[in-house]
């Protein structure tokens, strides 16, 4: 049975495929490839479109400005993963809060830069695009900040409201701009925005600033001095909870109720009846809902309304009561006709402490995985997601991290970031990394080395082999035998090393000299990787000894190459031919025993050759040459044996 969908999926139109063409598709890690396909196999003539379309899921990955966000947050993410599991949670909480703040400051930095670019650009389309990104980041930061207050910091009653006030103040900073404008004017108290600023300050609980503004008005109206003085006293006496202090919440509550009663009395006895502005402020601070709702313009959002309402009516609100006030404030604030937007639903879910709903709604509303992946990871570290199991994948945290990292991996440059995310997905991370890392295009050896380092550090031997093989094949194609051999040695790929060694030996047989001596002379222990490579190295060593006129050592090595079966049989004739000049030196180099062994090798070789190639009637020219060589060798061996016997006999005697 199909799962019910939460929202209708977005439709992506594939250009040129609109008029009833049939499409095929293939899933990629972060995207889908779509291509036109022929419906009937029998229709031969292909008038089909030759394009393959790439449909991307996480489009924000491709924004150059957001790359800063991805890179900086990667660093924070890695730091978070190293916080030790076994620390008591009391010690960890401040760390988690500080990490959450770091994430937010990265979002803010990115947002500010985007804003600058958006303002300075001349291209209207680009400006709109950046403007949209700024508003998305604003929303992300707003949600993150609320989650930090409610879930990560988990402030108790009393502190909770203070945190919520900070949250609203941070995201409703236009008051300060307006205030600056008013204060810079010639006569601030007469500025048309003056009262808006005062009221906005009061709505945000910034009473100190409100009082300073009011002083300006009071000096203009000396007759009303007493009334202004009364308001100033009320504002200055409003108690705020001090979480660090000695006062208990109950004591604060008593004090607050006392103050509230005092404000109420002033309202009842019409103390401010002669000044409508002061009357409004008085009504606000007494928590009059109708007055608050008359200032929707200044509040601008239902959650500002919520926080202001709590400030002046329920300053000791408990976390568990929040959802009730949130729901009612939203209903009161929004028009009956208007539908709540995704952001409203997300914030409401947060106030209801429904973390999974927050993550789910965010996943649907945002076109990037960055936010949900990082937030979920942090909440998971705070042990807030334990009870939730998915019926697919491993768990929510890992699922989202894998999605985000897969998106990074499809990016031309950002793939390196993804590795650390995969590393921190215990269930499937390694599999994902293994599958995706093989698809990275390797344009240069330097890039190959970087990819290889990633694989080697994680003991991904299969991928190591595959990368080295790709590089070795490429080197071979370009006739760079030395490089090809180096790559196969690095992968410990014996078969390939054998293949390349054969190429070296072939080259030697045709040209009579070795290429790439700098490499072959320095094989070292790597020589042992394959028999053929060992032979190549040893055979070259023979030539070096011969060149240095160290004949007896050369002779010994040459013989051992055959007797120890290091040399392939096909190469024995070459080796025996190499022995010829040694046999023809004036002094005896091969001893009698060694000469016997050489003879034995020659006979073994000729008999096997006779066995393997029987039946042809006429000997070919090649066979003639071979035959002459064999006879020459036999002659030289016999002569050497004679000389050796004489010499050895003489010494003994």
């Amino acid at each position: 049975m199909m799962e019910e969908v939460d929202v209708e999926p977005a439709v992506t139109n594939i250009p040129a495929a609109s008029d009833g063409k049939h499409l095929g598709f293939a899933w990629g890690p972060g995207d889908i490839l779509v291509y036109e396909t022929l419906y009937k196999a029998s229709v031969a003539q292909g008038s089909g479109c030759s394009f393959i379309h790439e449909v991307r899921k996480d489009e924000d990955i491709y924004s150059p400005n957001l790359r800063k966000l991805f890179n900086e947050s990667h660093h924070i993410f890695v730091g978070l993963q190293t916080i030790r599991e076994d620390l008591p949670s009391k010690n960890k909480k401040p760390q988690f809060v500080s990490i959450s703040k770091n994430y937010r400051s990265v979002i803010r930095a990115c947002m500010e830069e985007l804003q600058q670019v958006a303002v300075s650009t001349k291209d209207a389309e680009v400006a709109t695009q950046y403007g949209n990104q700024v508003s998305i980041l604003l929303a992300i930061e707003l949600i993150w900040n609320l989650c930090e207050v409610l879930f990560i910091d988990a402030a108790p009653a009393g502190s909770l409201l203070l945190h919520l006030l900070d949250w609203v103040r941070l995201h409703k900073a236009d008051v300060d701009e307006k205030a600056a404008e008013v204060l810079q004017s010639e006569s601030p108290a007469e500025h048309h925005d003056y009262w808006d600023v005062v009221v906005s300050y009061v709505l945000q609980g910034r009473l100190e600033e409100a009082r300073q503004m009011l002083v300006k008005q009071a000096t203009l109206h000396p007759a009303a001095r007493k009334m202004y003085k009364l308001m100033d006293t009320l504002l200055s006496k409003m108690p705020f909870y001090n979480p660090g202090g000695t006062q208990t919440l109950t004591e604060f509550d008593v004090k607050w109720r006392h103050w509230h009663g005092e404000v109420n009395r002033c309202l009842q006895d019409n103390s401010f009846a002669s000044n409508q502005h002061l009357e409004i402020i008085c009504k606000i601070i007494v928590g009059d809902e109708d007055t608050l709702l008359e200032h929707k313009e200044l509040l601008s959002t239902w959650y500002h309304f919520l926080v202001t309402r709590l400030l002046f009516s329920h300053p000791t609100v408990k976390p568990t009561e929040l959802h009730y006030y949130a729901q009612s404030c939203m209903t009161m604030f929004l028009d009956a006709r208007s539908v709540p937007e995704p952001l409203d639903n997300i914030l409401l879910a947060a106030f209801e402490f429904d973390i999974h709903q927050v993550i789910k709604e965010c996943s649907i509303a945002l076109n990037n995985w960055w936010f949900v992946a990082h937030l979920t990871d942090l909440l998971d570290h705070c042990k807030l997601l334990q009870s939730h199991n998915l019926h697919f994948g491993s768990n929510l945290r890992e699922f989202l991290l894998l999605e985000y990292a897969s998106g990074l991996f499809t990016h031309h440059s950002l793939w390196q970031l993804a590795v650390d995310y995969f590393d921190n997905c215990p269930e499937f991370g390694r599999v994902y990394l293994g599958l995706q890392i093989e698809h990275i295009p390797l344009d240069t050896e330097r890039k190959a080395l970087k990819v290889l380092r990633i694989c080697e550090q994680r003991q991904m031997s299969e991928q190591v082999r595959s990368i080295c093989k790709i590089m070795a094949m490429r080197a071979l194609r370009n006739n760079r035998l030395g490089s090809a051999l180096s790559w196969s040695i690095r992968a410990k790929d014996a078969a390939f090393a054998t293949l390349i060694s054969e190429r070296f030996l072939q080259d030697y047989c045709t040209r009579g000299t070795f290429s790439d001596l700098d490499l072959i002379d320095n094989l070292g222990p790597a020589m042992l990787l394959s028999d053929r490579l060992t032979f190549l190295g040893k055979y070259r060593e023979f030539h070096k000894l011969y060149g240095e006129k160290r004949f007896s050592e050369a002779a010994k090595l040459l013989l051992s190459l055959m007797t120890a079966k290091i040399a392939p049989r096909s190469f024995w004739m070459t080796l025996l031919t190499d022995a010829l000049p040694l046999l023809e030196q004036k002094e005896v180099i091969f001893s009698a025993d060694q000469t016997h062994e050489l003879m034995f090798c020659l006979e073994e070789l000729t008999s096997s050759l006779n066995h393997s190639a029987p039946g042809t009637d006429k000997p070919t020219q090649d066979e003639d040459i071979e035959q002459t060589k064999v006879e020459l060798l036999r002659l030289a061996l016999a002569r050497n044996l004679a000389m050796a016997i004489i010499k050895e006999g003489t010494i003994e005697a």
Partner: protein
């Protein structure tokens, strides 16, 4: 040290960073550097200013971000980048091209001054050009194709090619003397080439014994030209005396992954800097040798004195370099991490005067204006 370091995220992976040269006579600090990017869909070279104009003597060494002056599209990854003179840089590309760019400082624009496309190449494929060194007007490049090519900035054609200089990839090149160069390759060899000789064979091959660990970078001691430092795939720092022996003079454990660059401080070569794939940047300092003249001794606080005393000497061979004093393991060598912990590769660094710049795969450029040298 780390407080003085300043990160700027630039939305491109940085493969190379180089200071623009300042005139030798003045003690002026550098103010402009160039960067090259790699592994982006469109790669770029960029010029940046750290805004030290007029040599303001603020002490905090933290005067805000480097500012982008201008940038220009670069075909392929920038694999190496060097200043040819005050206005020109030479880059080498993964496409095998070698390009000279001119930085017009009045208009803050960049133009291509000369380009040798596919200087390094295979019959069918591109052969990445991995390294360049220049001494105006001469330019020497090396590549994955194992070739060494000599150009002149003022000439169209190629001056000299050593076709089979290496059977494996040459990773880096530097001058030993005006007519001699040094190359390092992917099988752990250090080769000396003398351009006065017509032969296409190296005049000397030095190598790490046994393990064939690829070498990725090389730098020569600015005053004592026989002393050479290299860095390899295993993160080891090797110091060689090319006059004697064919194996390194000393081996020091430095990084846990490829060492991408090593640089002696140009005027105070008791200091050396290395950076690595492991994400770290190290500052190495040898204590001055005890039988040195007393004015060369002393702690790091009077390094200004020793620097001005060392700099004009230009090769006082009688001094035994601290790098060859042999007991680096006995605490004569101090190393300091210069970057806050980070996981992605530091691909390149450059140091001049008291300024250091480096670039990372984490798309950040770090500038430190108060390197304690």
């Amino acid at each position: 040290i780390m407080e003085n370091i300043n990160a700027k995220y630039v939305s491109q992976k940085i493969s190379k960073t180089r200071w623009r040269l300042v005139s030798h006579s003045s003690l002026q600090q550098p103010d402009i550097f160039a960067t090259g990017s790699w592994d982006n869909e469109v790669n770029k070279i960029s010029f940046w200013s750290i805004g030290n104009h007029g040599g303001s003597d603020t002490d905090d060494g933290f005067e805000g971000d480097p500012q982008l002056l201008c940038e220009y599209k670069h075909d392929g990854d920038v694999l190496d980048l060097q200043f040819l003179d005050q206005d020109r840089i030479v880059t080498t590309s993964s496409t095998g091209a070698v390009t000279i760019f001119r930085h017009h400082q009045n208009s803050q624009t960049i133009s291509v001054s000369h380009r040798w496309p596919r200087a390094h190449r295979y019959p069918c494929d591109n052969a990445p050009c991995t390294g360049v060194v220049c001494s105006s007007p001469e330019i020497v490049t090396v590549g994955e194709d194992g070739k060494i090519i000599v150009f002149r900035a003022d000439q169209e054609g190629v001056i000299r090619v050593i076709e089979n200089a290496d059977s494996s990839t040459i990773h880096a090149v530097t001058y030993l003397r005006t007519t001699e160069i040094l190359t390092v390759n992917s099988i752990g060899q250090l080769k000396l080439w003398d351009f006065r000789q017509q032969s296409d064979a190296p005049s000397q091959i030095l190598s790490l014994s046994g393990d064939r660990v690829p070498l990725h970078c090389v730098d020569r001691h600015p005053n004592q030209q026989h002393i050479v430092a290299t860095g390899g795939q295993d993160g080891m720092l090797c110091v060689w005396d090319v006059r004697q022996g064919s194996t390194p003079f000393s081996l020091m454990e430095a990084h846990s992954a490829e060492m991408w660059e090593v640089h002696f401080h140009p005027t105070n070569p008791d200091h050396l800097f290395t950076c690595s794939e492991d994400g770290s940047l190290l500052h190495w300092e040898t204590s001055t040798h005890s039988d040195m003249p007393s004015f060369l001794q002393g702690g790091r606080n009077n390094s200004m004195i020793s620097r001005s005393a060392m700099a004009p000497a230009g090769g006082n061979q009688s001094l035994i370099s601290a790098w060859l004093s042999g007991d680096s393991s006995k605490g004569r060598l101090e190393t300091t991490h210069m970057l806050p912990s980070q996981t992605l590769s530091v691909n390149s660094l450059d140091v001049l005067g008291q300024c250091l710049v480096c670039g990372t795969d984490g798309e950040a450029i770090f500038v430190n204006r108060q390197v304690p040298v």
